[in-house]
């Protein structure tokens, strides 16, 4: 079984959104186009469209994340769906109740969609494979595997500022090894035809087979961001310090932290992105984070439009309507 073919139905429409891997350029572009249509909704006096009225979207978060959950909730509500938030800390799960038990219970409440975050790679696939056929699953981050809506909002941001991907050089800086965001970004950038994708970091934080992902690997920040159009900084998890991955935050910042000075190596109009939350003084200087090249806050607001697009498309595919219509 391929991981990707459960994502689309026979007509090639999006049924689940689990990973960027295996999705076509056309489909990714469609997501961005539909999101562009939704971007205006936030500016309206009534910030709602009735596309998903009567649908129940369940945020099923096995890992806590206020920000991602909130943007999904907001996106679903703007589509007029009802939202159920469930934070299931795995440690407090009553022993004996399996993930499948949890799913069956929720299915009995006639929900239409699971938005899933889980600490295990492959968890969203697992849920999509086992959920009742009428339920759509959106992956809101599974282990180190994928975070496709984050990647698509990043693509949206890049397209908004830079247009055509075919002429762009993009650098992703930091802990690629443990990053689901980076994996999805790399897949999306390559699918959209980006001229060059680079990853930059110490060898301890770059997968040994990174080249297989379709990237150029750099271990020097200045060299890696030379003449790039887009710099994506990854969040550094503090626990990496304990696993002998890095000696200290200070040394990391010295080598891979983005400063105004280092930014000079990139193209003059290069944009700086970060999936948040930022560790100021570890991944980047405050000067850069709050500076004119930073599009970090835009990423957050574009995130709602992109998630609206993905929710509408997957729910639309379920009821037989292509997701594109905004006339509902």
């Amino acid at each position: 079984m391929l991981p990707t073919n459960i994502q689309t139905d026979r007509q090639g429409r999006l049924r689940h959104f689990l990973t960027i891997d295996g999705l076509s350029r056309g489909l990714l572009t469609e997501i961005l186009d539909i999101a562009a249509g939704f971007a205006g909704v936030a500016a309206q006096a009534v910030k709602k469209v009735p596309l998903c009225r009567g649908k129940i979207v369940t945020n099923l978060f096995f890992e806590t994340s206020t920000r991602t959950r909130t943007t999904f909730e907001l996106a679903a509500k703007r589509l007029s769906a009802d939202v159920l938030n469930l934070n299931i800390s795995t440690s407090s799960t009553v022993k004996g109740e399996t993930l499948l038990d949890t799913l069956r219970n929720l299915e009995a409440m006639h929900v239409d969609m699971f938005v899933v975050r889980h600490s295990d790679s492959g968890a969203a696939h697992f849920i999509a494979q086992h959920a009742a056929p009428h339920i759509s699953v959106i992956n809101a981050g599974d282990g180190r595997h994928a975070h496709p809506t984050q990647a698509m909002l990043d693509m949206y941001t890049i397209r908004h500022h830079k247009g055509d991907f075919g002429r762009l050089r993009v650098a992703i800086v930091g802990d690629v090894l443990h990053s689901r965001v980076a994996r999805s970004q790399i897949a999306a950038l390559n699918t959209l035809g980006t001229a060059e994708v680079r990853v930059i970091g110490p060898r301890t934080l770059i997968p040994s087979d990174a080249r297989e992902l379709g990237v150029h690997v750099f271990h020097d920040l200045t060299e890696g961001i030379r003449d790039v159009d887009v710099i994506i900084m990854l969040r550094l998890q503090r626990e990496r310090m304990r696993g002998a991955m890095l000696p200290s935050e200070q040394e990391y910042f010295q080598l891979f932290g983005l400063t105004e000075e280092r930014l000079g190596a990139a193209k003059p109009d290069a944009i700086v992105m970060h999936p948040g939350p930022i560790n100021r003084g570890v991944e980047m200087d405050s000067q850069v984070a709050d500076g004119p090249r930073s599009v970090i806050l835009q990423q957050v607001s574009f995130g709602i439009a992109v998630r609206m697009a993905v929710i509408a498309m997957t729910l639309g595919a379920q009821s037989g309507h292509p997701g594109g219509g905004l006339d509902g």
Partner: protein
């Protein structure tokens, strides 16, 4: 049918690799032993004749690593259920690792397992004793007592002994009693939380990965200890091309080391993990096509002397979780012979060599007189149909474990009759008795 029953297996192609036999020869059995190969002894009158025309007759298969889950995990499987599965797969002798619950670090547990197996009478179960107490890798176990209680080898199962001095002492102590030590070479620090091969698939799926070095670092250490101590070591379940080269070199240098491979490693690769198929969650992990090719070559060349099932039956819940949270292992007894025959069909091995890796090869590792069919031997016999094609499905599995990545595969070749000590313990239902 009592032990004194006289059986003739007629008209089959007898392949007994240990004795260089391959030809149309009848086999005559009395009182649990082979009494005639080809012609029957004077005055022999068979009580029962098994028609083996168009079938292959070979020594009962010997599996160096099969977990039967009893005692301790009877919700997964039992000695009764799994020895029945073994019989249905042509396997007559099974070695079980010591990681039962309680652990096989006392004579009582070793005896209990053998008695239970004898009670059900479907396969010979030989326990391997724990190399260290509680498999903790700190204190060596009472190996002399374990040997007296029937343990045929010592092993620390999949638990790596981190303290190299303890490892050295354990190997020396086992060698004192002429016990072979089974080792699964895997450095637990390098393994860490890994669940798949560190390679292209892990990079893309973001699954915690196990580098080849986890195996080769441990193998290098243990080869050095084999040289230092002169102890006889058997490496279980090699997975990497480099391990094969290290093994071959050690064997050229006349170290007393042998090795086996799990049958699935000769067919699957990391690519089979695609789609997060939890039935491909294995330890050691599935590696690359290059590794698979090297393992096949080592099996053909005899550096790897045995093919094992590495049978690990699970209840459905153990596999119905996100990939990293699932338990590793395959329910594999019933694919051991079919997967090995597939190597013959693919031209990797000739039939006699393939059967040697399932009979005389593992018998040599154990230093036991099984796995051959000359006159006077115990009549453990596997009779299989080399041409029949069939599909593996949950319904065809006798094992309680239905966890197999080979479900839906079409195989050619399947056990027809199995005899354990001269007793018919399995006849394929569609074959008239």
């Amino acid at each position: 049918m009592d032990r004194s029953t006289r059986i003739s297996i007629r008209g089959g192609r007898l392949i007994d690799p240990a004795n260089g036999v391959d030809g149309e020869l009848d086999l005559h059995i009395e009182a649990g032993q082979v009494v005639g190969v080809g012609s029957a002894p004077v005055g022999f009158q068979a009580d029962r004749i098994l028609d083996a025309r168009r079938l292959v007759v070979c020594p009962g298969l010997i599996d160096l690593c099969a977990r039967l889950r009893e005692p301790g995990a009877e919700h997964k499987a039992t000695i009764r259920s799994e020895t029945a599965a073994a019989a249905a797969a042509g396997i007559t002798t099974l070695c079980c690792p010591p990681d039962t619950q309680p652990i096989i670090d006392t004579a009582a547990v070793a005896q209990l397992i053998q008695q239970t197996a004898q009670h059900w009478g479907k396969a010979r179960v030989l326990p391997t004793g724990a190399l260290t107490r509680g498999l903790m890798g700190e204190e060596i176990s009472e190996m002399a007592a374990l040997k007296r209680a029937g343990c045929v080898a010592m092993s620390n199962a999949d638990h790596y002994i981190r303290n190299t001095l303890v490892q050295r002492r354990a190997l020396e102590y086992a060698a004192t009693f002429d016990l072979t030590t089974f080792l699964r070479p895997e450095d637990s620090y390098l393994r860490d939380q890994g669940c798949v091969h560190e390679g292209r698939v892990a990079a893309r799926l973001g699954l915690p990965a196990i580098p080849v070095a986890a195996e080769t670092v441990a193998l290098a250490r243990d080869l050095a200890l084999a040289e230092q101590t002169g102890a006889r070591l058997h490496f279980r379940g090699l997975s990497a091309a480099r391990s094969c080269r290290m093994l071959a070199q050690a064997q050229q240098e006349r170290l007393a080391v042998s090795a086996d491979v799990s049958a699935h490693q000769l067919h699957l690769t990391e690519m089979d993990v695609e789609g997060f198929d939890s039935n491909c969650h294995l330890s050691p992990p599935l590696r690359t096509p290059t590794d698979r090719a090297a393992l096949r070559e080592a099996v053909a060349g005899g550096q790897i002397i045995a093919i094992c099932s590495d049978h690990q039956p699970h209840e459905p819940d153990a596999k119905e979780r996100p990939f990293p949270a699932t338990e590793s292992g395959i329910s594999a007894l019933e694919t051991l012979l079919p997967l090995t025959l597939r190597l013959v069909q693919e031209g990797t091995l000739d039939l006699a060599t393939a059967l040697a890796r399932l009979t005389v090869g593992p018998a040599a590792v154990l230093g036991l007189p099984f796995g051959r069919l000359d006159v006077g031997r115990v009549a453990d016999v596997c009779v299989f149909d080399p041409l029949i094609t069939w599909e593996l499905s949950p319904e065809t599995l006798v094992s309680h474990g239905r966890n197999s990545p080979f479900l839906g595969w079409e195989f050619q070749g399947r056990a027809a009759y199995t005899l354990l000590g001269g007793q018919l313990v399995y006849a394929r239902p569609d074959l008239a008795p």
